[in-house]
């Protein structure tokens, strides 16, 4: 397995270089000069043309595009992601500030997705055609169809603006530092409730539908019939025999969720003023902040590659029919 992982990682290098190059040129092909946006956003008043030239020079925008590209690739290889035009700070430090917030949100949302989605999917499949199944099916379809940002705004209006039960936005309260440890934990969790619910519930709805169909398919297999014929209890048949096989595609699905973990959820972060990666990336696109756009795109590319690798590894772990040795021989 170790050899397989190394091989896959080596294969990823030219792929990532290709992605980096394509991303760089596509980003620079987009109409709009970053200086226009930078000056417009930053100064909003007359700016001496000489000053504009100085700023261009500082960020290397006065150089021909191929020169900019070579410099960028060189810096990227050294781990230097450059300095943001908009924030005028190193991109690496901006990303480092945002990642913990994004991870809190996305990990909990994935957890909610897995717990709720898989449980509901199993319940729905086991109690096929029952009232529970119908309610779960209808609820899943409704939640899956509702746009996340709309649901977020509605929940904020009900639970924050009108009822005042939950915080409206941000990651903690103003008096956070004055709270006891348990108070701090409760405060952080309180701020996570709405964004995690909105983010997790829509994907849980999809997972529930997927899980239900997978389990129903597995339950109709002959080996399940054989297990039942051997007189095994129904719980054992479902949890030990059917569920493990039904989970294989789900596990792959979660492996591919890695880019989402660090990419964040743009609209949800915007509604809840959550200082995560998604918001950073989208604001950078509007501001033509090339260093941030390129850095976040590269991060996404790396995560997709890693996510695929993890999904393959997870697939082999849960499915004994898949063998890395077989792959190597092939």
């Amino acid at each position: 397995m170790g050899w397989y992982v190394v091989k896959r990682l080596l294969q990823a290098i030219p792929l990532l270089i290709g992605i980096a190059s394509i991303t760089f040129f596509i980003v620079h092909l987009a109409p709009g000069d970053p200086m226009d946006v930078y000056l417009e956003e930053r100064y909003r008043r007359e700016v001496d043309p000489q000053v504009i030239e100085l700023i261009r020079k500082k960020y290397g925008l006065d150089q021909p595009l191929p020169v900019q590209y070579v410099k960028w690739i060189g810096n990227l290889a050294r781990g230097d992601l450059g300095e943001s035009f908009r924030y005028r700070r190193p991109v690496a430090s901006l990303i480092a500030e945002r990642i913990p917030y994004t991870l809190q949100l996305t990990l909990l949302a994935l957890l909610l997705d897995a717990l709720v989605g898989i449980s509901l999917g199993i319940t729905s499949a086991v109690k096929q055609y029952s009232t529970t199944d119908k309610v779960v099916t209808l609820g899943s379809l409704v939640l899956y169809s509702i746009p996340g940002f709309w649901l977020a705004v509605m929940l904020v209006l009900v639970f924050s603006v009108n009822l005042g039960w939950l915080p409206t936005s941000q990651t903690r309260s103003l008096d956070y530092e004055l709270l006891s440890t348990s108070g701090k934990i409760a405060d952080r969790l309180g701020h996570l409730v709405l964004p995690v619910f909105v983010l997790g519930v829509a994907s849980a709805a999809g997972t529930a539908r997927y899980m239900r169909n997978q389990l129903l398919e597995v339950l109709s297999e002959e080996y399940v019939l054989a297990a039942r014929a051997r007189g095994l209890p129904e719980t054992s048949v479902i949890l030990k025999h059917a569920l493990r096989n039904a989970l294989i595609p789900i596990v792959t699905l979660y492996g591919l969720a890695l880019p989402f973990l660090l990419g964040g959820a743009v609209l949800i972060e915007k509604v809840f003023a959550w200082p995560g990666m998604g918001l950073l990336a989208v604001e950078a696109i509007g501001a033509r902040d090339y260093p941030i756009i390129l850095a976040t795109s590269m991060m996404a590319a790396v995560l997709v590659v890693l996510g695929n690798l993890l999904a393959d590894i997870a697939y082999a772990l849960v499915d004994p029919r898949v063998s890395f040795d077989a792959t190597r021989k092939a």
Binding site: D36, Q50, S160, N162, G164, E177
Partner: protein, 519 residues
């Protein structure tokens, strides 16, 4: 897919549906319930929503909250006159380029050190560096003695007025810091200033809290604490939830229009205006009468109502300085659809096709206007589109993002665009100066007047030049002005002491404000 699976999607029965509806009723009732006013429970603390661009650093120079902590040399009153602040008096040379100030004695930084003329010189030198990240002043500051100093503008950029918007910073704390890392200085997170409020605590990603400065030169402010909450885009819901007292928006949101808890104070921004910029070289817009007709067809007063903007908003047809606008010299663009129709008829756009669009030699009067993909701007464009339709002119609207818009404007690749226009001589340069080719309009007389306005600091000369420029713009209509920019400060009614236009921003005059006590 088998039939059984399809069956599982069949609708639930009526009884179950009724039960579900009944279950959701409490939630619906909660949504309609008027929330309790939580603002009063905070006591003598003002919480303002901010959206710091510089990541959690809302107290860097040139930000909305900087004057809570630092002081400028002077402040402008509602008549546009300088009032003493860190400087007690001043005089200027005949050409207005050289200003000599006297520093207020006894003012101290929040760490107890006295504010000196060295701090003032340090600040001017800092912002006059060619790579200054904040201002590009191009000034020379000369210290005469321990209380007087002279600032002289030497560069292309007119600096006059900087004394009211540039806050002084402490030399003793900043002189040894690496200037290239200005934006990363921790000083901006825990600033030491000389203004009405001093730093109390900072919570990353959440807020900065300030407390009233007992040593403030005007006496300790009435509001004990000010919290700058980093709400980002969630400012409005935070306000409605009662979590903040003040937010700023481009216009008054409908959600607060009829809410008696809040008051909106409109602060005009005379430096910018929304306008339709014509590509004057385009065959449709080459004729001056056609441009005039299109401008006459727009009912700007109604447009302002449609956009829910304040009725006192300045509608001007040219370029004016702030004092000119304060004196009421700005004249409103005319709305005369009958005259517009007559002008188009005379220009040869008489016939109308079956869609009601005017034609000339078989060619429709149809063009595309670019606009920002931002709701209020797009709404403006759609309103204008509707007015032009009545005139028999078809305007298609193409929304674009800000970066693409500025690129299209700066390369002249457009037929028309609904966009902002800087109402300064820099903006004039775009339409009539060296870069006039961008909008296909060139007028040597205007170019000369721009140079006059740009190369002097004498307000009377500038105003005369602006008057002449406005006359020419009114005549030629290379752009159609729509309405001025502004900021709506939406503030909880417990905040007392605000007024329009000069005291509309609660973060600019906090030292003069008070908070109503709980009833």
């Amino acid at each position: 897919m088998n039939v059984q699976k399809i069956a599982s999607l069949s609708p639930i029965n009526r009884r179950r549906f009724a039960q579900m509806c009944a279950g959701s009723l409490p939630l619906a009732a909660a949504a309609c319930r008027r929330s309790k006013d939580r603002a009063y429970s905070r006591g003598n603390t003002l919480i303002a929503a901010v959206d710091p661009h510089n990541n959690d650093r809302p107290l860097t120079p040139d930000t909305e909250a900087e004057f809570l902590v630092y002081l400028p040399l002077v402040r402008m009153d509602e008549h546009g006159e300088r009032q003493p602040c860190l400087a007690t008096d001043w005089k200027h040379s005949a050409d207005y380029l050289e200003w000599t100030y006297r520093l207020r004695p006894g003012v101290r930084w929040h760490d107890g050190r006295p504010v000196t003329v060295d701090d003032v010189k340090f600040t001017h030198d800092l912002h006059s560096r060619p790579d200054s990240p904040v201002y590009q002043l191009r000034t020379e500051c000369t210290v005469h003695d321990e209380s007087t100093f002279t600032v002289r503008g030497i560069g292309w950029t007119r600096w006059a007025g900087a004394d009211s918007y540039m806050s002084m910073v402490p030399k003793h704390l900043l002189k040894d810091l690496d200037y290239q890392k200005w934006n990363e200085w921790d000083f901006w997170l825990r600033p030491v200033g000389n203004g009405p409020y001093r730093y109390l605590r900072y919570q990353p990603g959440t807020m900065v809290e300030l407390e009233a400065n007992p040593d403030y030169y005007k006496g300790k402010p009435k509001i004990e604490r000010v919290v700058l909450k980093f709400t980002g885009q969630a400012g409005l819901t935070e306000l409605l939830s009662g979590n903040v007292d003040a937010i700023r928006e481009n216009k008054q949101p409908r959600a607060v229009a009829n809410d008696s808890r809040f008051q909106t104070y409109w602060e005009p921004n005379p430096g910018r205006t929304w306008a339709i910029i014509w590509q004057n070289a385009h065959p449709l817009f080459r004729d001056r009468d056609v441009r005039r007709a299109l401008s006459l067809a727009i009912n700007r007063r109604e447009l302002v109502q449609v956009l829910n903007l304040p009725s006192q908003l300045a509608l001007v047809d040219g370029f004016y300085t702030e004092p000119q606008l304060r004196r009421g010299e700005g004249s409103e663009p005319r709305y005369d659809p009958a005259e517009a129709r007559r002008l188009l008829d005379e220009a040869g756009w008489r016939q109308r096709n079956r869609d009601g669009i005017r034609e000339q030699d078989g060619r429709e009067f149809r063009f595309t206007a670019l606009t920002l993909a931002e709701s209020s701007v797009a709404q403006t464009a759609l309103y204008v589109q509707d007015q032009f339709r009545d005139l028999g002119v078809r305007m298609d609207v193409q929304p674009l993002d800000g970066g693409v818009m500025s690129n299209r404007r700066n390369t002249g690749k457009f037929e028309a665009m609904v966009y902002y226009f800087p109402s300064t001589d820099n903006g004039l340069d775009v339409c009539c100066g060296e870069r006039a080719h961008l909008i296909g309009y060139r007028n040597p007389q205007l170019t000369r007047l721009i140079e006059v306005a740009r190369t002097t600091a004498d307000p009377e000369v500038i105003e005369d030049a602006y008057r002449e420029m406005t006359d020419l713009l009114r005549r030629d209509q290379p752009i159609a002005f729509l309405f001025g920019f502004g900021t709506a400060h939406i503030v909880h009614r417990r905040v007392k002491g605000l007024s329009v236009p000069s005291r509309a921003d609660p973060l600019r005059c906090t030292d003069d404000l008070g908070l109503e006590e709980e009833r």
